[in-house]
Amino acid sequence: MTETTTETEEQSTGTSVGSGDTDTRTTKGESEERTRDEWREYSFSEDAILSVDDLNVYYGDDHALKDISMDIPEKSVTALIGPSGCGKSTFLRCLNRMNDRIKSARVEGTVEYNGEDVYQDGTNLVELRKRIGMVFQAPNPFPKSIRDNIAYGPRKHGDINRGFVASLLGRDDKEEEDELVEESLRKAALWDEVNDRLDDNALGLSGGQQQRLCIARCLAVNPEVILMDEPASALDPVATSKIEDLIEELAKEYTVVVVTHNMQQAARISDQTAVFLTGGELVEYDETDKIFENPESQRVEDYVTGKFG
């Protein structure tokens, strides 16, 4: 155990990613050790919007993520796969600092968004989360109308003024709001299904519609990056395929990072895939085709072919 620790410390200076168990890892090819620069190369670093460096997360005494370094290129879909409890959701929640909401969580390392560390003091969480939106595993619309759900973010941020006082001051942005609601719902491929009942409660929608509503709600605050935490795991196959199509469509305009435990889904929709394995390590991160067809690591091959859960 001490051996592993020293090794980790060594590597944290930057030679390899998630290779805390190099000794146990059986590799297929010659190149079992990659330098940091080589990883960068695989990480499409020239257009990285998010750049994670030596990220460690602890829940109390539990070391949930170990020395994660990876770059996420913009306007693409990055899938995070791995078995349950491997830390992929934790990693995702680090990117817009949603882990701050968990009292026992402690984060070390840096997450750079457009070159700025989001974990430095003085980061404006409101602005950060406006730029890096999030969609959760279970659809979680507010118990409000569809319109109120979509307009919730902009209204609370003061980008849209509604209500009695606004109308008295002559600053009622009803038209802007209508446009925004329609645009967001169209982008989320929900407009055609709900345009005649925007004032109905969102809880009356089906699960798949609710999840697309949550995506639309996220789009309404105009983010650059959308984090999705297993967005289709609570949905049926038809709704899932709609969400998948939507993700591919969104990647033209937005950077999408999606956690999934469904490997076929990752293979279908993502441009690059990061494989987390038990213990909170990032074992391999590469273009999706490479991961699924010819992974470097034996463990990753075992995992993606279903030999190891």
């Binding site: 817009n96 949603m98 909401r101 009292k103 969480l125 409101v126 602005e127 950060l128 989360r129 406006k130 939106g133 999030m134 959760f136 279970a138 979680n140 619309p141 507010f142 118990p143 409000k144 919730y152 973010g153 609370k156 941020h157 109905d200 409660n201 809880l203 009356g204 949550c214 709600r217 996220c218 605050v221």
Partner: protein
């Protein structure tokens, strides 16, 4: 292979066994009701009915039930019918029957004078019977002990050994057991046991039988609880209604305004959803609604006829006079409610530029009218002497909107008709406020809004004149209303704020747990302790005299813990997903609380307010100390009229005082206590009237709360 099972899967029709068991259940139920009825004098017990004392019939029923129950047991045992009894009636039945027989025999022994030896014998018999119940087959074990009890008690009553006149004074208990108590009690016990056994026998004993028996007992308990509630309300209503309604005179115009409310609401519903919709119970309830609508329409037609022909109707001491004017307060209430309805119905949006212009203009006009009304209410009447401005403005606005309404129907244009109706209702609200503020009528040829005189309700509108010549409870009623309102206004924001802090900001710690324990403790604190605290701490700091303000604060302290507890529970049950979703959109915690957490918790908060108001409105003990006014004050506390707002050049520049809040007053429960304890015979009916008004005040608060809770729930759901 069906021989492998003892009983067939499907049984068609009902056997004689089932019919007899069902009859046992039915007769038991009737006997149960009749026995309860004797307590209230609805069912005769000591009187002669068809030649016999009524108590003997109770005995006869018990004997009949006893034979039937025993017969059911025997028939099952000898295999005349297909049943599935267990090997034993079970421990519960054994203990119940053992206790029953132990007590019965013990009392009998006591009555015939055997005393202590008798009790020991009874104990031995009870234990023996419990053992016998336990070891015998279920069909015998659960029927024979019951049948024995029924036959024994029934025989006593039939033979006249126990009559309603008999009274047995036990030396051991220092209590008297009159026949009027023993007979119904034994009948209730017998009916419960007989019904229980009958229900078990109906399903053929065994698992299904026990389930049936348990179901019967549980439904009886539910029935009992409901009947207690209904009984209480009905009893107070019956005693108090005549006093409350004495010499009530109501104008036909005002009555019509109140009848119009349900007519509008019901017909709107019928219009939107169809008169008869749905199937089964839905259809039934829509028929009921339709029937209500018809009744109200008929009522309205009758009232219209009454003032068309200028006849005055009277029923008892209630009179309906053919005045056409509407009182200002009723007009305010009715048009206010209708405004809410119109607002809820307003789904139209102004499409074209012209429509938008009209809508904006209408809003402007309404705003102007409301501003004028507020000025009149708080500052002074608007207009030059002799020419009041507001009535003219109101009449003009009302005329224009009437014309617009008629025109929109006549031309059949797709025009938002809600708009002229809304403006019209606002005009009526403003007119009512004008009448209230100035006392001048807004009426043409007797049709319109006048200040008072259309309703004369002595019990509610007059102060009491003192013992012996009491008339009304108005001062006490307003005292209660002001105190409850003040307590709610004081306590609810504090409690909700504390709940927000404890749930959303404070981490779960020793501190929050301590606060929880303390809150629960505070809620269970006796109210007289609150009163004493108020007397010692609050009263010296606010005018050094018991006052309305002190009472508001003390009752607010009492309300605080309950609202805090329920608000906290409601906020805890708001799913964390909402908070996560809001945080992920970059919305700050405070805004999340305001726009997601508190609205979602609102129904729970209001539930707390409902429960709390019910308690504090009826509080007497603390008011004895901190309100302590005259028992029969001559005038109501003028809280609204004695607001004194002064402006000055020195800080704090504005200076508000309200002497009425610092005066002693009376409240309904307090006055009720005074009336009942005065000990002058004739006052009891006055007390019942006071109680009914108190009930009415509490139920009105309750109705408002329930309506607002429903509003918030619907907002969350649709």
């Amino acid at each position: 292979m069906s021989e492998a099972y003892e009983r067939s899967l499907v049984v068609e029709g009902s056997s004689a066994y089932e019919r007899v068991s069902a009859a046992v259940v039915g007769v038991s139920f009737v006997a149960f009701l009749a026995a309860i009825g004797t307590f209230f004098g609805w069912v005769p017990l000591a009187e002669n009915v068809a030649g016999f004392v009524a108590a003997r019939y109770f005995g006869a029923v018990l004997v009949a039930l006893g034979f039937a129950v025993a017969g059911l047991g025997v028939a099952s045992r000898v295999g005349m019918f297909e049943t599935a009894p267990d090997d034993s009636a079970g421990l519960v039945a054994a203990v119940v029957f053992g206790m029953l027989w132990f007590l019965t025999l013990g009392f009998v022994a006591q009555a015939v004078g055997i005393g202590a030896v008798g009790w020991i014998g009874a104990l031995a018999a009870g234990v023996g019977l419990a053992y016998a119940t336990l070891v015998s087959s279920e069909d015998i074990g659960s029927t024979f002990p019951v049948a024995g009890f029924l036959l024994f008690m029934g025989a006593l009553f039939v033979a006249g050994a126990v009559t309603p006149e008999s009274a047995w004074m036990s030396e051991a208990f220092e209590a008297t057991f009159p026949g009027t108590v023993v007979i119904p009690t034994a009948t209730i016990m017998g009916a419960l046991l007989g019904g229980w056994t009958g229900a078990k026998a109906y399903a053929g004993y065994g698992t299904r039988g026990r389930q049936n028996g348990a179901f019967l007992l549980i439904s009886l308990v539910v029935f009992l609880v409901l009947s207690i509630l209904v009984l209480l309300l009905a009893f107070v209503f019956e005693r108090g209604v005549a006093v409350v309604l004495e010499n009530l005179i109501i104008g036909a115009g005002t009555a019509l305004a109140f009848v119009a409310l349900p007519v509008v609401l019901l017909s709107r519903r019928a219009y939107r959803r169809g008169i008869v919709t749905g199937t089964g119970t839905d259809a039934v309830s829509s028929y009921v609604r339709f029937a209500f609508l018809a009744v109200f329409v008929l009522l309205a037609a009758g009232l219209g006829y009454a003032f068309a022909t200028a006849t005055s109707l009277s029923y008892g001491s209630v009179t309906l006079e053919p005045t056409t004017a509407v009182g200002a307060l009723p007009a305010l209430v009715v048009s206010g409610v209708l405004l809410l309805v119109a607002r809820a119905a307003d789904t139209s949006t102004a499409e074209t530029d012209r429509e938008q212009l009209v809508a904006r203009l209408a809003r402007l006009v309404v705003a102007g009218l409301v501003a004028g009304a507020l000025v009149e209410l708080f500052v002074a009447e608007i207009g030059v002497p002799g020419v009041p401005f507001m009535p003219i403005a109101v009449a003009a606005v009302a005329a224009v909107s009437l014309v617009a309404l008629v025109a929109s129907y006549a031309r059949d244009v797709p025009y938002p008709r809600v708009l002229p109706v809304t403006v019209l209702l606002w005009a009526s609200v403003v007119a009512a406020v004008h009448v209230l503020a100035t006392g001048d009528a807004v009426a043409v040829a007797g049709v319109g809004i006048v200040e008072g005189g259309t309703v004369n309700w002595p019990f509610l509108m007059n102060p009491s004149q003192g013992l012996g010549i009491q008339i009304g409870v108005m001062p006490a009623m307003f005292g209660t209303i002001w105190i409850v309102l003040g307590a709610v206004v004081f306590a609810v924001p504090l409690a909700v704020g504390a709940a927000v802090y404890l749930t959303e900001y404070a981490e779960d710690s020793l501190f929050t747990r301590g606060v929880d324990v303390a809150t629960n403790g505070l809620w269970s604190t006796p109210s007289i302790v609150f009163g004493l605290f108020g007397l010692a701490f609050i009263v010296p700091r606010f005018g050094d005299s018991p006052s309305i303000l002190a009472s508001q604060l003390v009752l607010g302290f009492m309300l605080l813990p309950l609202v805090l507890i329920t608000s906290r529970e409601a906020m805890k049950s708001v799913p964390d997903e909402y908070r996560d979703a809001s945080a992920a959109l970059g919305v700050s915690k405070w805004r999340t609380i305001r726009s997601v957490v508190v609205p979602a918790a609102m129904p729970g908060v209001i539930t707390g307010v409902i429960l709390g108001v019910g308690r504090i409105a009826g509080e007497t003990a603390p008011l004895l100390l901190v309100l302590n006014g005259p028992n029969f004050p001559g005038s109501a506390p003028g809280v609204l009229s004695s607001f004194d707002v002064g402006f000055g050049l020195q800080p704090p520049f504005i200076h508000v005082s309200n002497p009425a809040l610092l005066e002693r007053a009376s409240a309904l429960p307090y006055q009720l206590y005074a009336v009942i304890t005065a000990g002058v015979g004739a006052e009891e009916s006055f007390g019942w009237g006071t109680a009914l008004v108190l009930l009415g005040v509490v139920l009105s608060f309750f109705a408002v709360s329930v309506a607002s809770r429903r509003y918030f729930r619907r907002k969350l759901q649709q």
